[in-house]
């Protein structure tokens, strides 16, 4: 992103258009983040289907941290940044970082009968499919999944099948 666009993005973010939520890595706590995401997206006048997409992506990002981060503090930090034309959601853990080794299956699934309809490993693909842009930054101090949903007409049209 060039400097001009970055400056425009910053100017579009009013300082109090930021919501922070810390959730413990406990059963169903992803719903707290999803519910907050829904309230924020609705307040920004996203379409109903976009709100649902934002909720599902938020759930998957939180679950990803719950299952794979091995975070010693067992917390997930969510940041919702409201801009005039988009919502950015950052889901951060302070775990061991992203690697294929620590993303091994947590649940003891039966073998896949149809490889294309595999049972696990869909979380990031779902997030990429539902959000407009996704960035993952990770090191041995933790992982942040940053995802953006834009407020545009084409999203609504694309979602209709």
């Amino acid at each position: 992103m060039n400097r001009k666009k970055e400056a425009e993005k910053v100017s579009n973010t009013i300082s109090n258009d930021l919501v922070l939520l810390t959730i413990p890595m406990r059963r169903d706590m992803e719903l707290a983040a999803a519910q907050l995401a829904s309230v924020i997206a609705e307040s920004m006048s996203f379409y109903e289907q976009q709100v649902e997409e934002i909720q599902m992506a938020t759930i998957e990002a939180c679950i990803n941290a719950f299952e794979h981060s091995k975070s010693p503090d067992q917390q997930v930090f969510t940041k919702f940044i409201m801009r005039s034309d988009e919502l950015e959601i950052k889901i951060t853990d302070q775990g061991v970082g992203f690697s294929h080794d620590n993303r091994a299956q947590q649940r003891n699934n039966k073998p896949d009968i149809h490889p294309e309809m595999r049972k696990r490993g869909w979380g990031l693909e779902i997030i990429h499919a539902l959000m407009d842009s996704v960035n993952i930054s990770s090191n041995n101090n933790g992982t942040t999944i940053s995802m953006v949903k834009c407020k545009n007409e084409t999203d609504q049209e694309d979602g209709q099948e």
């Binding site: 169903d28 992803e30 599902m56």
Partner: protein
């Protein structure tokens, strides 16, 4: 935050309908799988899962739905879904579920297409 969920089962002569309510995660998924397995063992090979009252779903819950599809395939059975939101349907199609199970707007069409 408690996730309240429920499953209503309506077993007819030729088919059975499992209607979920609440967040479809591993807990609801496992219970749904248990109920479906019991129906399969009773001889039901045509099942409908109605997700109309399930607004939120996660990938772990979906993975358990895939197990039900596979269990029915082993008995030459069929699973049809109905009541999916547009986002759920999009996700199911992305995960290739639509190739191995039916997706219909309502129970009537799901039953009619066995």
């Amino acid at each position: 935050m408690a996730n309240k969920f429920d499953i209503q089962i309506r077993a007819e002569k030729q088919y059975a309908i499992l209607e979920t309510a609440g967040y479809l995660n591993d807990a609801l998924g496992e219970r749904l799988s248990k109920e479906a397995q019991e129906l399969i063992e009773k001889g039901y090979t045509q099942l409908v899962i109605n997700l109309d009252k399930t607004a939120l779903i996660n990938s772990i819950g979906i993975s358990i739905l895939i197990e039900i599809i596979e269990a029915l395939e082993q008995r030459d059975g069929t699973l049809n879904f109905c009541g999916l939101s547009a986002t759920q349907e999009r996700t199911f199609r992305m995960m290739a579920i639509a190739k191995y199970a039916g997706i219909f707007p309502d129970e009537k069409s799901a039953i009619a297409n066995f």
